[in-house]
């Protein structure tokens, strides 16, 4: 979004509200447009045009043959969206299942990866730590490895007779059949205490073709393995962001806290973390977007199975379009996903908003060199 802002800056003097004879500044607008035109062209062709085409497809009955703008493709309104959300058929249930799976995935992955990456960042930022470079590299390594390679590794680790189950067996336990176990972990836990079927008010009412009892099933064991994988692979990336953030924080405030007698936990919770808020926002936003779009692990690993418990909207969209030639449905799923991501981002922006600052704090900020955050 920075690209459109730049020409505007250059174009300002040329706008009709200002005298045109700008002297030396004359012609700058044209030059400005010229300089940004490559970016606008590239973004326009490869980003905006496809998005708009996809939006049109989601409102059309295009079947994947010839151009979506040709005369024999017609506008069908919100039919595709209706079929997905209130149609009540298999499509609605598949979409509900995919949303259920992905919601659990997001609910578990985002907090876990944020907490873990922050924890790792604090660890590797400690002045006292020897070989910091080694640990940073080691923790970052999974992030730069191809997700396909990691998925294959994961399938091997969590196979029925694989290393993970061997370790569990070594401790005397019996590991589950990870990637073939469709039962949700909440349901498993409940059946552990003898609850095998939900109350009527949960099982009799449904949303998107899925009973509330099914919504509450939790991620399946297979999905849990993928959740572990996501946390494992992404923590390194976000650790790097947090390390950068931590390096930007001066030691003065921590030192002041030390003088005031704050212990280690208090210093972290009340001094370091609040200063990291912009980074936390970035990490959670990127995490949310990445988690809602999870695709490659599913495509290379489970293909949605067992029993559709690793089906995600992104994979469902691919399946609908490329396997079943229902391009409108596929595009509609993608746009619903887009809306979900926007809503989640706005919500967390609201949660992490800058709250009104007390006078005492304002005075503290005014003398501080870090006044920027409060001013914007």
């Amino acid at each position: 979004m920075t690209a459109p802002a730049a020409p505007a800056e250059a174009a300002r003097p040329a706008s009709s509200r200002r005298p045109r004879s700008g002297g030396v500044r004359r012609g700058e607008a044209g030059a400005g447009w010229l300089f940004v035109s490559p970016v606008i062209l590239i973004l326009g062709t490869f980003l905006f045009a496809p998005v708009i085409m996809a939006l049109w497809v989601s409102f059309s009955d295009w079947t994947g043959r010839g151009s979506p703008f040709s005369s024999n493709v017609s506008f069908v309104g919100v039919d595709n969206y209706v079929e997905l959300t209130t149609g009540g058929g298999l499509r609605t249930r598949d979409f509900g299942t995919a949303l259920r799976n992905n919601t659990w995935y997001v609910l578990l992955v985002v907090p876990l990866q944020t907490a873990l990456s922050l924890f790792l960042a604090v660890l590797v930022s400690r002045r006292i730590l020897k070989a910091r470079g080694f640990f940073r590299t080691a923790f970052y390594f999974p992030s730069v490895t191809s997700s396909v390679a990691i998925t294959v590794l994961w399938l091997f680790l969590f196979s029925f007779a694989g290393p993970v189950n061997a370790i569990i067996a070594w401790f005397g336990g019996k590991g589950p059949n990870w990637f073939d176990e469709p039962r949700g972990i909440v349901h498993l836990a409940l059946s552990g205490i003898g609850v095998t079927s939900g109350p009527d008010w949960l099982t009799q009412n449904d949303f998107l073709g899925l009973s509330w009892w099914e919504w509450l099933a939790g991620p399946s064991v297979a999905m849990s393995a993928l959740i572990l994988m996501a946390v494992f692979t992404t923590s390194g990336t976000f650790m790097l962001l947090f390390v950068a953030g931590l390096q930007n924080i001066g030691y003065e405030l921590t030192e002041a806290g030390l003088m005031d007698g704050a212990n280690g936990w208090q210093r972290f919770w009340h001094i370091t973390l609040p200063q990291l808020r912009p980074i936390v926002f970035t990490v959670i936003t990127l995490g949310l977007i990445g988690c809602w779009q999870v695709f490659d692990q599913i495509y290379t690993g489970t293909k949605g199975g067992p029993s559709k418990t690793t089906l995600t909207p992104a994979y469902l969209s691919y399946q609908a379009a490329f396997q079943n030639q229902d391009w409108g449905i596929g595009a509609a799923i993608a746009f619903i996903l887009f809306l979900i991501i926007i809503v989640f981002t706005i919500f967390q922006r609201w949660v992490l908003r800058d709250r009104p600052v007390s006078r005492r704090r304002i005075r503290a900020y005014q003398t501080s060199t870090y006044a920027k955050g409060g001013a914007s």
Binding site: P4, A5, P7, A8, E9, A11, R12, S15, R17, W33, I40, L41, G44, T45, F48, A49, I52, M53, T63, G64, R65, G66, S67, P68, F69, S70, G89, L90, R91, R93, D94, S159, F160, A161, N177, D180, P182, G304, G305, P306, S307, K308, A321, F322, Q323, N324, Q325
Partner: protein, 419 residues
């Protein structure tokens, strides 16, 4: 504030112009070659253009065999032809169709047929084939939609019972004990089951469990493809039979014994018998100690039954040289060429005239070909793939599920797409 608005306006205006330009650019690119209306077209196109053949290959053996065959035809006919082995056939085909320049010929599965036929991507040519009457009738009906025979089956396979000879003899069983009824199957499975090995192991999906439905006299969709009959008593009986033996531990799904599919479970001797097709012979090369014997599946309450799977040579409606493509298909599906393919990478010929020779060459696998007498195809209706996927998902928990409830949900899903 006004300044800000002006800025934004200018910026978005510029973007909109560029986007519009880009879009028209794309639009022109697309509309230069308007897709011809197929279905109504009965005449094949003909030109000097070369052919592109896109295959989803199982490996080098298949790719090379197809390339050699096409090259031989090309030299003979004088028409250029190029074979492309797709890495993701469905996706690459979709790209071709959307751009209006699909491959001329391509592998097409029964589950994809209806989708492409409905949007007019396919040129139906079955009735124009010179060797049309040579194909097995059941295969022809697999690739017939609304009375139109779309494409020539390139080969096929059926499911039969594979027995581990070593474990069979260890359990004191002889050739006379080969099961011919469900009761006998259950009793040999019980004898073959011990602590490490389950009697019969197969994947928990319609494409395996469906054989029991066929033996009970059931199907998912009626033979003419117009009525859903998933909730028939025959199907309930079949699933109940499977469920009963999953519960008593003499049958098991491959996943539940820690194998990816029946062939793997069989090779690792996690299962003494499995239900698979003739592709299992390739996989068993990894397990030289296992002696496999192929016999026909037992008969159920309604007699013998199995499932068959096939791909066909799809022809693109947008192909500029369909006449040459038709000739190439006739060449590739001739008995002689199919026998050569069979030798190179193992599929069963889809034409009856190759049957005798094939049986002679593959004496151990005769049961697979015999299955063509009573095999039924999988549903081909548009959207059937999704329904079967959903059925598979439910079959995975058949052991604790209710067969009737599972089939009822399949029935309602099928009713939405059939007819």
């Amino acid at each position: 504030m006004t300044r800000h608005t002006a800025r934004t306006l200018l910026a978005t205006g510029g973007l909109a112009v560029v986007t519009a330009l880009a879009l028209t650019g794309c639009g022109q690119g697309f509309t230069e070659t308007p897709p011809s209306e197929s279905g109504a077209a009965t005449d094949l196109t003909s030109s000097d253009e070369g052919l592109t053949i896109m295959i989803g290959s199982s490996g080098d053996a298949e790719t090379n065999a197809v390339k050699d065959a096409v090259a031989a035809w090309s030299a003979d006919s004088g028409v250029d032809a190029e074979v492309v082995a797709a890495t993701d056939l469905a996706q690459q085909l979709s790209q071709g169709f959307a751009a209006g320049s699909p491959p001329d010929l391509f592998y097409l599965g029964t589950d994809q047929l209806a989708g492409y036929a409905e949007n007019g991507s396919l040129q139906p040519y079955g009735d124009m084939l010179a060797n049309k009457d040579d194909f097995y009738d059941s295969l022809v009906s697999n690739f017939t939609l609304d009375g139109t025979f779309y494409c020539a089956p390139k080969d096929f396979s059926t499911l039969q019972l594979i027995i581990n000879q070593g474990l069979w003899e260890d359990a004191g069983l002889t050739d006379a004990d080969v099961p011919t009824t469900w009761e006998e199957l259950a009793s040999v499975a019980e004898k073959l089951t011990d602590d490490d090995t389950v009697g019969l192991v197969f994947s928990g999906e319609y494409a395996r469990v469906g054989v029991f439905m066929a033996q009970a006299g059931g199907r998912l969709v009626s033979e003419d493809g117009t009525t859903a009959e998933a909730d028939s008593d025959a199907n309930v009986e079949a699933l109940s039979y499977v469920q009963e033996h999953l519960k008593d531990g003499t049958f098991a799904y491959a996943a539940d014994v820690g194998a990816g599919w029946g062939g793997e479970a069989f090779g690792k001797e996690l299962g003494a018998m499995t239900i698979e097709g003739n592709w299992i012979t390739g996989a068993l090369g990894d397990f030289p100690d296992v002696q496999a014997k192929v016999v026909e599946l037992p008969a159920g309450p309604a007699g013998q039954g199995t499932l068959q799977f096939s791909n066909c040579w799809g022809m693109a409606a947008d192909s500029p040289n369909q006449q040459a493509a038709l000739e190439l298909v006739e060449y590739l599906t001739s008995a002689e060429q199919q026998l050569a393919f069979s030798e190179a990478f193992g599929p069963m010929p889809s034409v009856e005239s190759a049957a005798e020779q094939w049986k002679g060459d593959n004496e151990d696998l005769v049961a697979f070909l015999d299955g063509s007498q009573y095999a039924q195809g999988v549903p081909t209706n548009k959207g059937a793939g999704e329904v079967v996927t959903d059925f598979n998902a439910q079959l995975q928990s058949l052991e604790s599920g209710d067969p009737k409830a599972i089939l009822d949900s399949v029935q309602s899903n099928l009713e939405a797409i059939v007819g």
